[in-house]
Amino acid sequence: MELIFEIGSKGRHLSLLPQCDVPKVEVPEKFRRTQAPHLPELSENEISRHYTKLAGRTHGVNDGFYPLGSCTMKYNPKVNEEAAALRGFNRIHPLQDPSTVKGALKVMKMAEDALCEITGMDAFTMQPSAGAHGEFTGLLLIKAYHTERGDEARTKIIVPDSAHGTNPASAAMCGYQVVSIPSGPDGCVDLDALRAAVGPDTAGLMLTNPNTVGLFDKNILDITKIVHEAGGLCYYDGANLNAVMGIVRPGDMGFDCIHSNLHKTFSTPHGGGGPGAGPVGCKKFLAKYLPGLCIEETADGKGFEMVKAPQSMGSVKAFNGNFLVVVRALTYILMMGREGIPEASSNAVLNANYMRVKLSDDFKMAYDTTCMHEFVMDLAPLVKETGVNALDVAKGMLDYGIHPPTMYFPLIVHEALMVEPTETEPKEVLDQCIDVLHEIYDMAHTDPDYLHGAPHDTVIGRPDEVEAARHPIVRYVWE
């Protein structure tokens, strides 16, 4: 279809602004732009239709099943959007006096309190805007802690080889060397490898539990103990929190700090990749290093004030974080409450295990045991038998209107498809996806070429990614 630059016609425009009611001011020549930017010239109707067309070429959670492992693509309740659209939240300036934004401060405080309770932490900052941003912030808490103690020999962060790529990348941004430790045959942390890796140079460990293969690491108390005894701190990557809310808390597993992805666990929409929010929580002894401004009750107990933590690391964002995302997450938490939050996790785990068991006849599970909210299928045997690989299966699913699972992650399973159904999918949707995967499995044996060529019914076929990287075209150019 056309790009927005290829439609419309010179001179078309909307009627948006009134006549200027004050004298015009010229930009002095030294600073003046001489050539106007090329921007679309369209009527509102054309804009509306262009984006409706683009929306039609986009698959969201609202369009169908989206079992993208490690991303928790649960349904995004509409009431969240109503709350986030309230004028009292949208039309307030971030630098208004705290006495004029009592409601906003209460929103942040209520979200903080709920997240503390759910994760077993003592304090939270809403400033980080994404999971990776939260990892960076959490590691800076660890860095600030060691720096203040003069313990600057601690230069290494331990990360399991199954970790998400953001973990080592975040550690590197904090000036740390990354020590990758191998996972055991059960997909969990190899305790001996961990013991061998820790030492006086250990700053900390980054871990998610359930881990990236969807299993609960039952040695978790030993793991955090080994790191603590070596003088390191433990960071919990909250990407998989949706599995364990109300069942087990990172704070009780021995973690010192954590990020939580509000766009995964707390139902705020992913927005095509953002904005999300990655609030960071920590135990009391780390709270003095938190970034941004902390919300505290005023001395008279009647309101809130915004104060800098005594030894704050600074700020990881200009203002108070993605406030409207926090508004959505709080709305969700209010609706779910004490009972609904564990119910969400229980059913996320049930839906995953139901699919895992129903698929294990044809597909090899990377770890054939009870999973948490997601599981990893290992397609290596299928590749060997038929030549159809994880990518082909994923592309085959597109023709059934299902967003494929996460492919080729974690790296320790070479032909991985990671399935995370979430709790908001009805049984029929799971059953249909199970049937589709069985059908694709059969097709791999009868007509593998059909799958190599999949998808067949989408608006484009497989794009040439090699060419895209070799000769990058990253913007439209006018002739």
Binding site: L16, C20, R32, R33, A36, P37, E44, Y51, L54, T58, N62, M73, Y75, A83, L86, R87, H93, T100, V101, G103, S129, G165, T166, P168, A169, S170, M173, C174, V244, V248, M253, G271, G272, G274, P291, V316, A318, F319, N320, N322, F323, L324, L330, G337, G340, P342, S346, L350, Y354, R356, K358, A394, L398, P426, K427, I460, P463, P472, V474, R475
Partner: protein, 445 residues
């Protein structure tokens, strides 16, 4: 309580059975007893949708919404065309994730490609991403793009927004990068200081300056580019995307990287977020650009197609050697900015910028007539400026607050950073000036 789990009790029991479990407890027996939470979460009981929305409405009502806002300092109140919200509310855009599966994500990929193009047009640059969380994080992440074994120190002008400066400092604390502040004089970067500092440092990596800067002033960026490049360092320019419609592009001014906050392009001020960071650079530095980049290619039938590209820079492949840990993109905000720019068009963008500048100058003139003195300005300004405040910032802010007006931002030493945009009416600006005048009179009396 509220719930978004569709399966009934009976269905859940059936599924448990079919999966081989006696109960939920049985399924969770893989979690060791000693770490299990032994009590219910200490949270209130869940609410119905009606109740939850009422709570949020009551909270929203506790915030004061001003009828006129003269405060900017990084968050700007511009008119948002109705089409913007209409497009960004479409559920496909709202509920999709990062477009990993290109075949069913062409809509999002194309919209990002269009955003990249529009940012390149605004800045004169060759390539842009849509990944940064805000202008401050984009500024902070520009530093590693310029750093290598021979270029280690980052420089930043003292005329930078202090919040941006703080974020840069925090990121530099992380990466163990030395960050040096270049002095200012009369609200502009001290060129002599810049020259001296860079000449003394063979390891200078980059210099960051904003134009318009924190005080609203336009800097002599071209002269800075010469100084910075003569020392083998890179120039990073912080921009306001609205001002960009009428002032010289970062490319014309000699910048290597342009960064800024995209908030003025259709995003509500919303207590500080979500916004989006703009980052654009030259082809030379393209492979150092962090975040997701969309490229054009073809599918096997020759159809035009869009994909995430140049992924060899990124964390999921390079892990600790990646250019950044960024793994998402701020797509919905980028989409907001794109629809805004499409709605405005080239003439509308220029009109917004011109009206904004005109209003700010009118406000300055009225305030000066009312008795205030402009501070920190030797040169030209765009839509923000600083005045003194002889009656005390607190008194003035309180008097304006009573009228439903949010005054400028009080800075140190009883000075005020004022801002105006196209949404401020002449009568409101005259009202501000009247308030100032009556307080001045009160003071004299």
């Amino acid at each position: 309580m509220g719930s978004f789990v569709p399966n009934t009790k009976e269905e859940r029991e059936q599924m448990l059975r079919e999966a081989g479990y006696k109960s939920f407890d049985d399924m969770f027996s893989v979690i060791p007893e000693e770490v299990r939470l032994k009590k219910p979460l200490d949270l209130p009981s869940g609410l119905s949708e009606m109740e939850a929305l009422k709570v949020m409405e009551d909270l929203a009502a506790e915030n004061k919404v001003y009828r006129e806002i003269f405060r900017g300092a990084g968050s700007y109140d511009h008119y948002i065309p109705a089409i913007v919200k209409s497009v960004t509310s479409k559920e496909e855009f709202l509920t999709a994730y990062t477009p990993y599966q290109a075949e069913i994500s062409q809509g999002i990929l194309q919209s990002i490609f269009e955003f990249q193009t529009m940012v390149c047009e605004l800045t004169g640059m060759d390539v842009a991403n849509a990944s940064h969380y805000d202008g401050a994080t984009a500024a902070a992440e520009s530093i590693p793009m310029c750093r290598d074994r021979k270029h280690k120190t980052a420089y930043v002008s003292a005329t930078t927004d202090p919040k941006v400066l703080e974020v840069m400092g925090t990121y530099c604390f992380g990466s163990n990068t030395k960050l040096v502040t270049v002095g200012e004089a009369d609200g502009l970067t001290d060129m002599e200081d810049l020259k001296k500092l860079l000449e003394e440092d063979p390891e200078a990596a980059c210099f960051y300056v904003e134009s318009p800067n924190y005080y609203g002033n336009l800097e002599d960026v071209e002269a800075m580019a010469e100084i910075v490049h003569a020392q083998g360092a890179k120039l990073v320019l912080g921009i306001d995307p609205i001002a960009q419609a009428v002032i010289k592009t970062p490319r014309e001014l000699g910048a290597d990287i342009a960064v800024g906050d995209g908030q003025p392009l259709g995003m509500p001020i919303a207590f500080g977020g979500p916004y989006v960071g703009i980052m654009a650079t030259t082809t030379d530095m393209m492979r150092k650009l962090p975040g997701r980049i969309v490229g054009e290619t073809k599918d096997h039938d020759g159809n035009r197609a869009y994909v995430l590209t140049l992924q060899a820079r990124e964390q999921h492949i390079r892990r600790e050697k990646a250019s950044s840990n960024i793994c998402s993109n701020q797509d919905l905000c980028a989409l907001t900015a794109s629809v805004y720019m499409a709605a405005m068009g080239p003439d509308g963008m220029k009109e917004v910028a011109e009206q904004t500048m005109a209003k700010a100058h009118f406000l300055r003139d009225e305030l000066v007539k009312a008795g205030l003195t402009q501070k920190n300005c030797k040169g030209e300004f765009f839509n923000e400026f600083v005045t003194d405040c002889p009656m005390g910032a607190e008194a003035l802010m309180a008097a304006l607050d009573e009228k439903g007006i949010l005054g400028g931002l009080p800075l140190d030493g009883d000075t005020i950073l004022w801002c105006a945009t196209e949404v401020n009416s002449r009568s409101a600006m005259e009202e501000v000036a009247d308030t100032v005048q009556s307080l001045m009179k009160g003071k004299e009396a």
